[in-house]
């Protein structure tokens, strides 16, 4: 179960992007790769939030959340029609 991946929404402080990156998408990708070799981004968000969604294990999510510039790593939530 430790290897079980689920979707997370990663909230990022865009202003904290290191100067070594030219574009925030590169920063997101680098940051994600540092915790997971296989994880891919589902969406990159520009307007609703700053960040992206991806599939991670619980441990990877914890490691990502500890990184500078990462504000929150929130698990996917299911909503229902009313």
């Amino acid at each position: 179960s430790a290897n079980k991946k689920t979707t997370y929404i990663v909230h990022v402080a865009k202003s904290q992007m290191p100067e070594s990156f030219e574009h925030h998408a590169e920063w997101y990708a680098s940051s994600l790769k540092s915790v997971s070799e296989s994880a891919e981004m589902l969406y990159t968000y520009e307007n609703a939030i700053h960040g992206y969604s991806t599939r991670l294990t619980e441990e990877e999510a914890r490691l990502l959340e500890a990184q500078d510039g990462v504000l929150a790593v929130l698990p996917e939530t299911k909503y229902e029609l009313h």
């Binding site: 979707t7 609703a48 969604s53 939530t77 029609l81």
Partner: protein, 648 residues
């Protein structure tokens, strides 16, 4: 919808609303199950070119191309990456991987908000009339985020992200989930960004009523919409063999039952299952049901599915009885067999008859559509209730709108019950929920926005809230279907929407994005939590005393931490009418709370802002834990009303 325009006074007031460019420039984005583009509700006859501000598009996918869009349906996108990541690839034999609506819900909500005028609309002849959305000239953009397996936050966020970029003016979301804190709730976070761009967000309050504190979508930058009834009903009477008659409702149309009474059986006595009374799949014994009408009870499974279960077991018809959870509220369904829904009291009487008569019989008579039902509106029992579980000082829901037995457009991919066994296809369906009331407000907000394009989302919401009504024309207070007693602001918020009054509210309670950031500071959010919501650095001023009671909200949620003491709320009114002098008055149902307003008179020039403070002083807690009141500002012509909830 065929009755709500009249019920809301829109039919008499077409002159009040802009008929040309400004109204057709407003774009309503609907996050839902997609859209059935062939619905006549999306006919674009008479509409001019797509607004120049529009940046959206119509995406191609299963059975959907850009040619399915027109000058009414100007955008259609779908978001499934999150859904597929969680549940695997979409099975295109079961649902369209495209904006196409295979469910009906999205077509219903979109057409309610801004559908075109369609004459001769009905469901099997029920609710016949001319159907129209609230903002008939507004454009629609459909964002499909809900699939057979649900609606996932990563897809919802992607859709909001895109809708902001596409330049919608109003976002309608008839969905919800849980009650996590604002900085963990994707709908709340995405809505904040949309609000910052001037987009009004209207969300359904939820269908978890009448339990207290059952609301969804309670962020103060969201307009939270509860549901009320119309003055329309679909009666279907139950006549028992002992001569007693009870009133129920039904949308059944099909083969009629024999004129003579039929044998009647209680489902609980026609099943070996412990929950046989609920008519769950596979629980009825055909030998005990065949050729009979079956009494089933509400709960656990879908109402229409219970009918299908009775039919599959050989039953001829069904009486569906409410339990205490539903009280006397009747929701009509297009059952697959002759069936009617009755309230709890009638259900109890019918059961008593079934348990005492050796050979019980029953007849069901379907009466069609009746209008002019009073009292109406009544707060729907299912409509979620306050208090706000996250921030009690923000009184929610904000208001109620029609949400019971609403006719609107439907998908032809599915029958009116939504059941797989339902092979019927309809252009319009009648369904209930706060999902249905939300797009009413979305469309009405689009109308107000078209009349006042310069107003902020908060100003539009304030206009809708402060002009909402809380009493019937005879002066009696709005009723709650769950109790049969007067409803409270925890049930109806500011009251029932009155769009004609909302066009000229006199004064509005305006709010800026910075005001909401101050609200988050008052909640003691960390810098990171605020940044998650606001997407930028924002440091709360350590020298400033932030208070949630200072958020310029059009209602008052007063919370006393102890049984005695004083609580102050500060508000600022903006005059959006001509120069005028307004006087304050307040009413309260608790003698334990004194309310003082300073100043009590405010004179406004055109466009001027003026502030006032309300002090609530408690001399002891109400035994109920809650009390309610109302504050009104009036210049003799216009009334600017705010509900008050008081909690200890």
């Amino acid at each position: 919808t065929t009755r709500t325009p009249l019920f809301l006074g829109l039919d008499k007031s077409s002159d009040l609303f802009p008929a040309s460019d400004s109204s057709s420039d407003v774009i309503v984005g609907v996050l839902d199950t997609g859209v059935w583009p062939e619905s006549k509700s999306f006919d674009d006859t008479g509409l001019g070119p797509v607004p120049s501000t529009w940046k959206g598009t119509c995406e191609t996918g299963t059975n959907f191309t850009a040619s399915n869009c027109n000058r009414k349906l100007i955008g259609a996108r779908f978001f499934a990456k999150g859904y597929e990541a969680m549940l695997g690839p979409i099975d295109v034999t079961k649902e369209s991987k495209s904006p196409r609506d295979d469910d009906g819900h999205g077509t219903h909500t979109a057409s309610t908000a801004a559908g075109s005028v369609v004459t001769g609309a009905s469901l099997f002849g029920y609710a016949q009339g001319t159907a129209r959305g609230m903002a008939t000239r507004a454009r629609i953009a459909a964002y499909k985020v809900c699939w057979i397996g649900g609606c996932f936050s990563s897809d919802i966020l992607a859709a909001i992200d895109r809708a902001i970029l596409d330049h919608v003016d109003v976002l309608s979301m008839s969905l919800g989930g849980g009650s996590s804190d604002y900085y963990r709730d994707s709908v709340a976070i995405g809505s904040f960004a949309a609000m910052e761009k001037g987009i009004l967000i209207s969300c359904s309050a939820g269908n978890a009523g009448p339990s207290p504190s059952s609301l969804s979508n309670v962020a103060p930058w969201i307009t939270t919409v509860g549901a009320g009834t119309l003055d329309r009903d679909f009666p279907a009477f139950v006549s028992l063999g002992n001569g007693l008659n009870f009133s129920g409702v039904s949308l059944y149309r099909g083969n009629a039952l024999p004129d003579s009474p039929l044998p009647f059986v209680y489902a609980g006595n026609a099943s070996n299952a412990t929950n046989g009374n609920l008519c769950m799949v596979g629980t009825l014994s055909p030998e005990k049901v065949a050729g009979k009408i079956v009494l089933c009870e509400r709960g656990v499974s879908a109402r229409v599915q219970k009918g299908a279960v009775v039919k599959a077991a050989g039953g001829l018809g069904m009486v569906l009885a409410n339990t205490a959870a539903n009280g006397e509220e009747l929701v009509a369904d297009a059952h697959l067999l002759p069936a009617t829904a009755v309230g709890e009291k009638a259900g109890d009487a019918v059961k008593k008859y079934l348990f005492t008569d050796a050979k019980p019989t029953v007849k069901i008579d379907f009466e069609g559509t009746k209008v002019g039902i009073q009292p109406s509106p009544v707060v729907a029992a299912f409509s979620s209730r306050g208090p706000n579980g996250l921030t009690q000082q923000i009184l929610k829901p904000d208001l109620i709108a029609p949400g019971v037995n609403i006719l609107a457009g439907w998908s032809r991919a599915v029958g009116p019950t939504g059941l797989a066994v339902d092979n019927r296809r309809v252009d319009f369906n009648i369904i209930s929920g706060t999902s249905m009331s939300c797009p009413h407000v979305s469309g009405l907000a689009a109308l107000v926005k078209s009349a006042h394009p310069e107003w902020s989302p908060a100003a539009v919401r304030s206009a809708l809230m402060t002009t909402a009504y809380t009493a019937y024309k005879n002066g009696q207070k709005l009723q709650d279907s769950a109790t049969g007693k007067p409803s409270t602001p925890f049930d109806h918020g500011s009251g029932h929407v009155d769009p004609v009054a909302a066009l000229n509210p006199g004064l509005v309670y305006d709010l800026t994005p910075e005001d909401y950031l101050g609200f988050l500071c008052a909640l003691n959010y960390t810098e990171g939590e605020i940044q998650s919501v606001a997407r930028r650095n924002f440091k709360c001023d350590a020298g400033k005393a932030y208070s949630v009671t200072d958020l310029n909200y059009p209602s008052f949620g007063v919370v006393f931490e102890s049984s005695t003491g004083a609580v102050k709320h500060t508000r600022t009114l903006t005059n959006v009418g001509p120069a005028a002098t307004f006087k304050a008055s307040v009413t309260s149902d608790s003698p334990l709370v004194k309310v003082s307003i300073v100043p009590q008179v405010l004179s406004f020039k055109e466009g001027e802002k003026k502030s006032y403070t309300v002090t609530f002083t408690s001399s002891g807690a109400s035994p109920h834990g809650n009390a309610f009141g109302r504050l009104e500002w009036t210049d003799g012509k216009t009334v600017v009303g705010s509900p008050i909830s008081i909690s200890w």
